[in-house]
């Protein structure tokens, strides 16, 4: 028996589709990705997020609370939690996805946690919260995530909680970039953006406003930042 590990495949959001043909094609691609992963038997949970243009980022700079409206660069379009023997197998899954040139998939090992797969079968809206950390280097980023973890590890058992995962550091993962000929693996990903995702969790909330209010008062924002995205029912 091989020990299995969970990996989070994160497809990077593409620019807003500008034509009807592009919207149609993207919808078909999303459905194909889900079907493809489900057929591999490795898919544990997956979801697609409303455009980041409809989302908020909340962070605290000193004493001041900053709520920024999207769109955001290099953020999530969809996530897929897969269970495979190792990183190579998870990366192979990412490379085999029916995606297009310029698509990017980040593969990151899950440190801990689980996501409720039936969250969209309950009434109401479900929001994805991406935990963001900003640091000059990876050790500092890990310390920041540890602090957030310590302050929040018992805080997600709230009403409407649908689980979540904490991710390992960026250098433990792989980035798969698609170009015209094939999918190739890029080293990294690195801390190239000013904010890097360290976890993903889900809450059922009546509205984006409620979600933003909840986030603003949470330790996630006191110690780092959150991006709040509604999940499509699909």
């Amino acid at each position: 028996m091989t020990a299995m590990t969970d990996y989070l495949l994160m497809i990077t959001e593409r620019p807003a589709a500008a034509t009807r043909a592009a919207v149609t094609e993207r919808a078909a691609t999303r459905a194909a990705v889900r079907t493809h992963l489900a057929a591999t038997g490795a898919l544990v949970d997956g979801g697609e997020l409303h455009p980041s243009a409809e989302s908020k980022r909340v962070r605290r700079t000193g004493e001041a609370l900053a709520v920024e409206a999207g769109p955001f660069d290099a953020t999530l379009e969809s996530y897929y939690l897969v269970r495979t023997p190792d990183l190579a197998a998870a990366t192979a899954l990412a490379k085999a996805l029916p995606l297009h040139p310029d698509d990017v998939v980040d593969v990151r090992p899950v440190m801990k946690g689980a996501i409720k797969a039936d969250k969209l079968d309950q009434p109401g809206k479900v929001f994805a919260f991406a935990v963001l950390g900003a640091a000059a280097d990876e050790p500092t980023w890990i310390q920041q995530m540890d602090r957030i973890d310590l302050a929040t590890h018992d805080k997600l058992a709230i009403p409407g909680g649908c689980g979540g995962v904490r991710l390992e550091a960026p250098t433990t993962g792989r980035r798969v970039a698609f170009d015209a000929s094939k999918a190739r693996v890029v080293d990294g990903p690195f801390l190239e953006c000013k904010e890097v995702i360290g976890g993903l969790f889900f809450l059922r909330m009546p509205s984006l406003e409620d979600a933003t209010r909840w986030a603003s008062a949470s330790p996630f924002v006191a110690l780092g930042g959150l991006e709040i995205r509604e999940l499509w029912r699909s």
């Binding site: 009807r20 919207v23 919808a27």
Partner: protein, 407 residues
Amino acid sequence: MAELTPSLAAVLHDVLGRERSRIVGALYRLCGGLDAAEEALQEALVAALATWPTDGVPDNPAAWLTTAARRHALDGRRRRGVAAAKAPMLMEDPMAAEDALETIHDDQLRLIFTCCHPALPRDGQVALTLKVILGFTIEELARAFVCAETTMAQRIVRAKRTIEDKQLAYASPGWRELPGRTTAVLEVLYLIFNEGHTARTGALARLDLQAEALRLARLVSELLPREPEASGLLALMAFGVARAATRADAEGVLVRLEDQDRDRWDLARIEEGLFALRRARTLGGRGSYVLQAEIAACHTTAPTWAATDWDAITRAYDELLALGNSPVVALNRAVAISMREGAVAGLVELAPLAEILARYHLFYATRAELLRRLGRDPRPDYERALALTQNASEQAFLRRQIASLDS
């Protein structure tokens, strides 16, 4: 203070647009009656207009309004004294700052199910839904449905009285599972949407009614996430709204689907429709709304009218006909057949419908088009269609078609 008023109005409009069903739903549970709930909200709005200009807009305006309205509702109950015993739905401390998620969803669903109760007449369901859940005024409703304000007011009063007399309030356990509830709600939303789609008189599309129906469909599909027909209806409406702006030209004359400027269709609504349709498919739905959404999806994603997937559309119409033999569905199927196999095949499909659709203007308008494609005289059919429709936008279109025959 004078310059604060417009932005305050905008804040209230925005909050009510998003949160009205949640606030009124909670008040309905608390007050036990629709009138009392609406009254309490009005009082809260008056209080907001009085205090927000000086105190500032609260952090959570919806919660502020709910708390203020609850206070008024409670005062009202105290004043009425004995009457309070008649309000059976007071279940918890009305001053609780925030309701639990499940309570919010229950409140909204109870409100919607009550307004769309199958025991109410159809016009009462529609009027109540628009007034109580969406906050339309009597005046707006009378204008939208082309009737006197007194008629509309009576319609609302009668519907509310029926709810009270028959105790349709669903206070008892298990109210969610009552059969036929969901069907009735979806029918009311469909009716509101179609009222916005093709007005019986006047301008072709009432975009606001369509947008409101879409908003309600979103809410209902969120509250009933495992109901494929709710997702199907949401998809159908999203595709409809996506195309709404192109259904009439600058002069208000109808533009047929085949002539619409597809580059102007709303991409965000198309995306929403495609997600909702995928949800309906995932749930395994093949009901009437899902099938209509499938057809709308074919049209909305087709590159051109000619390059539309007429096979898929014909198959969906076949499934729709199998659900219940509707002559209007058969008419639309005939159009798909005419695109797939030619105008003669379309006319063959139309022939058996001539009697049953003898008073339906679109039958003649459709037959006129097919005759025209075959080089035969479409004038008598255009003229019959013109005589049968009261819709100004359609009339203008048909007159244009007739005029084009002369040139």
